[in-house]
């Protein structure tokens, strides 16, 4: 074939391909609008017929009409899908034919370059520059006008500041909540081991004249519907604790005055982030972590990985699912709230897997403020917030590191390598020394004014006697008291670590000791509460029987002792003050 003939053929191909593509495109376009009439989701004809049938149920012809129409609609729907799929291929084919033929045609007709004598460079440049500047300026102006118009006409109602929001919704501009004061915290029992987190009660009045079995001296005893090993917490006129099993998890709230259940907050159904299956350890259960409160909301976490926040009147505030943790003994780390942030020590797995995290959530909304990855294994201790070296420090422990973080930013302040495996005892703090426990091996006293790795420089003393294995110790600044699971109570000198005394209490303990004034309160697993003198004499001053097994540490606040037995929450003593009842919305 000659060149001209080829060109003519190509020309025809180009035209036919173009027409074909346009026709197919138009057909698909029209089809798109036709579908609306036969959309199985929105067909009004079918809906009308079904309504008619409802008024005249035995009408067989109507039924048949509905079935025919339904079949027709379904057929058209799937045919339409197939039409579009096929049409797309045809369109693509038409485009390809057009492009290929067109390119060959154009390349066969290409004009040879005929270089012109280039005009004067200088003036050409000037013209180009001017034209370019004008073009850029025009585009910029058009875009600016567009942004301005849109910005002024389509703005959003959502304002930029909480004050403006309050004005919009007609409320009072809310001052940001300053959180509970130090006095408020000390007057309550807001977290595991009390307001300071190290087991020191702020009341000196501890009732011990009670008998659990008969109810003498017991203010009230309330059943707890779901089991758990977490301790109760107390805020003003409410006692809260959490419980759960594989079917349900919940937070329970009881009245301080008479023990009646005020509300129970079920953890809402949440889907776990994909991960491992839950394996529940019988001796830990699902509700081993103790809840925490900041006086506005109560926070609870469970071994399923569910984290939930309720307002103190029982309304759900927010909830999250952190994923089922990988934890050989069961997740037991309690929650800590400080300065409007909820801290969750989510250590799990082995150190190399780097699954462990330390989360800081905004207590009001649950938003993540910061999170830290930790290359550390599972831990069963609870974090501790201390004020030392002029700043707040969040102490988090997991084998082998004790690490201090800045609660506001999550930045690491210092770390010390001194802890061992199966880490369950939580740290305590007194007179500028942080006391850590290497379970069954040693008690370590650490100075907290360092930075970076302080293993070599800040250990004040390390003592090999008297270290507990599971319970956390307690100190009054002069002595440290620790009890092992099998009942050996040790008294150490807080300044040197020397073991001053030891006593075999002849029973098992899971609950950590509490310091009440100058006395030490211990509650053994059989339900026996012992009051001892907090000095090397370790003299037993009083003894009382609960009648139920006790694994959870007690709460001692405002002249009351709260003990969580296997199935009941017991309250002993009379509250000395008149705590103001909480109003709704607080």
């Amino acid at each position: 074939m000659t060149g001209a003939e080829i060109q003519r053929h190509l020309g025809w191909v180009v035209i036919v391909a173009a027409v074909f593509s346009i026709v197919v495109g138009a057909a698909m376009f029209v089809n798109h609008f036709q579908v609306a009439t036969y959309d199985p989701l929105t067909s009004s004809a079918l809906a009308e017929k079904k309504d008619l049938l409802r008024e005249d149920p035995p009408n067989e012809t109507l039924k048949q009409e509905i079935r025919d129409l339904d079949l027709q609609i379904r057929q058209r729907f799937f045919r339409h899908l197939a039409f579009n799929r096929g049409g797309a291929w045809f369109l693509l084919g038409g485009l390809a034919a057009f492009v290929i033929a067109g390119r060959y045609l154009v390349s066969s007709r290409i004009a040879l370059p005929a270089p012109q004598r280039r005009p004067d460079d200088a003036s050409a440049l000037r013209r180009h520059a001017q034209a370019g500047r004008r073009a850029v300026a025009t585009t910029a102006t058009i875009v600016a006008i567009l942004l301005l118009l849109l910005g002024f006409t389509l703005g959003t109602l959502v304002p930029e500041s909480p004050e403006a929001l309050a004005r919009l919704t007609g409320g009072e501009p809310e001052a940001p909540d300053p959180g509970p004061t130090r006095e408020e915290l000390r007057a309550n029992w807001p977290q595991f081991r009390g307001p300071t987190g190290d087991g020191v009660a702020t009341t000196t009045n501890l009732p011990m004249n009670w008998v659990g079995a008969t109810g003498d001296g017991v203010a009230w005893k309330s059943p707890v519907p779901l089991p758990g090993f977490g301790s109760p917490i107390v805020w003003q006129d409410r006692v809260l604790l959490s419980g759960g099993n594989e079917t349900a998890r919940a937070v329970f709230c009881y009245s301080v005055a008479d023990g009646r259940q005020l509300w129970q907050g079920l953890v809402p159904p949440m889907t776990a982030p994909p991960g491992r299956k839950l394996e529940v350890q019988e001796f830990t259960g699902i509700a081993a972590p103790t809840p925490a409160t900041d006086g506005r909301r109560v926070f609870a976490i469970f071994a399923t990985g569910e984290l939930v926040a309720f307002h103190l009147d029982g309304r759900l505030a927010w909830s999250k699912h952190l994923g089922v943790p990988e934890n050989p003994y069961g997740f037991a780390t309690s929650l800590v709230v400080h300065d409007g942030k909820l801290f969750v020590q989510y250590d799990q797995g082995e150190a190399e897997k780097e699954l462990s995290r330390l989360y800081a959530y905004d207590a009001a909304t649950g938003r993540t403020v910061w999170e830290q990855r930790r290359a550390l294994p599972s831990s069963w201790t609870t974090p501790l917030v201390i004020e030392a070296a002029g700043k707040p420090q969040l102490i988090v422990t997991s084998q082998p590191w004790a690490i201090a973080y800045d609660p506001a930013s999550g930045a690491e302040l210092w770390r010390a390598d001194c802890l061992g495996a199966d880490l369950a005892p939580s740290p305590i703090f007194a007179s500028d020394l942080l006391y850590l426990v290497h379970p069954s091996v040693a008690v370590i006293a650490l100075r907290v004014d360092g930075s970076g790795d302080v293993t070599q420089t800040h250990i004040a003393w390390q003592n090999e006697d008297g270290a507990p294995d599971i319970t956390s110790p307690v100190t009054d600044g002069a002595h440290i008291f620790a009890v092992t699971t099998w009942g050996t109570l040790a008294c150490l000198d807080a300044k040197t670590g020397a073991r001053l005394a030891e006593k075999d209490l002849e029973m098992e303990f899971n609950a950590s000791p509490i310091l009440v004034g100058s006395r030490l309160l211990l509650v053994g697993i059989p339900g026996t509460a012992l009051l001892l003198s907090a000095d090397p004499a370790l003299e037993i001053l009083a003894r009382a029987e609960l009648g139920e097994t006790v694994h959870a540490s007690p709460a001692v606040v405002d002249g009351r002792l709260y003990l969580r037995g296997k199935d009941h929450l017991h309250a002993m003593g009379n509250p000395t003050g008149n705590p103001a009842p909480l109003s709704y919305g607080q």
Binding site: P40, L41, K50, L53, R54, P57, L62, K63, I66, R67, D70, L71, I73, R74, F77, F78, L81, N84, E246, T247, P268, P269, M270, T271, P273, P274, G275
Partner: protein
């Protein structure tokens, strides 16, 4: 023999500047990769629906970029009650308990009803017909055991960077899951 004309000082200066910028750009990219690799994952992600958050609005059928949505109904048979009057299969107050089109909720007849034994019926989803409209899911969850749920099918989903359905979901039910654990299923604990 070098075919290039010798460079002027201006060109050498420009080359030096270029080298400097190139080095800075490489450093910057290296820094970016370093900073992000701490927070990156070796796995890519897929889209899934959290069945607990799904509010059965029906947009899964229409919002997907694919005409035949990648979201289809799934049936957690272990949760099913096998009821004769399945509230996910039948319209509310059905004319009769048979497979007639006037009784079925599903607009594309994607649910198959099969008699097992008295009084149990088995309901299975024909995924090729399902369009993900959530009518059966709504009926099942509101009045039944909630064994029907919508889920993204990975063999159909093109895994857009920003899922068009996720964008409009009123229940905020879409989440990214790592590719090694690509399916979220509804399950009860036994």
């Amino acid at each position: 023999m070098d075919p290039q004309p010798p460079k002027s000082t201006g060109q050498n200066r420009r080359d030096f500047l270029r080298q400097g910028f190139r080095g800075a750009a490489l450093l910057g990219m290296g820094g970016l990769v370093g900073a992000l690799s701490w927070r990156s994952s070796a796995e890519t992600t897929r889209w899934q629906i959290d069945p607990q958050k799904c509010v059965r609005c029906g947009q899964c059928a229409t919002a997907c970029v694919l005409e035949h949505s990648a979201v289809r109904c799934a049936h957690a048979q272990a949760m099913c009650g096998y009821c004769e009057l399945c509230t996910g299969y039948f319209e509310p107050d059905p004319n009769d308990l048979n497979t007639g089109a006037e009784n079925q909720l599903c607009p594309t007849a994607a649910i198959r009803r099969r008699f097992v034994e008295d009084p149990y019926f088995e309901y299975t989803i024909d995924e090729a017909l399902c369009i993900g409209c959530a009518r059966c899911v709504e009926g099942c969850n509101r009045f039944g055991n909630g064994s029907l749920y919508l889920q993204v099918r990975h063999e159909i989903c093109v895994n857009c960077n920003e899922c068009a359905i996720a964008r409009v979901c009123p229940g905020d039910a879409f989440l990214r899951v790592p590719v090694s654990r690509p399916y979220i299923s509804k399950q009860i604990a036994h």
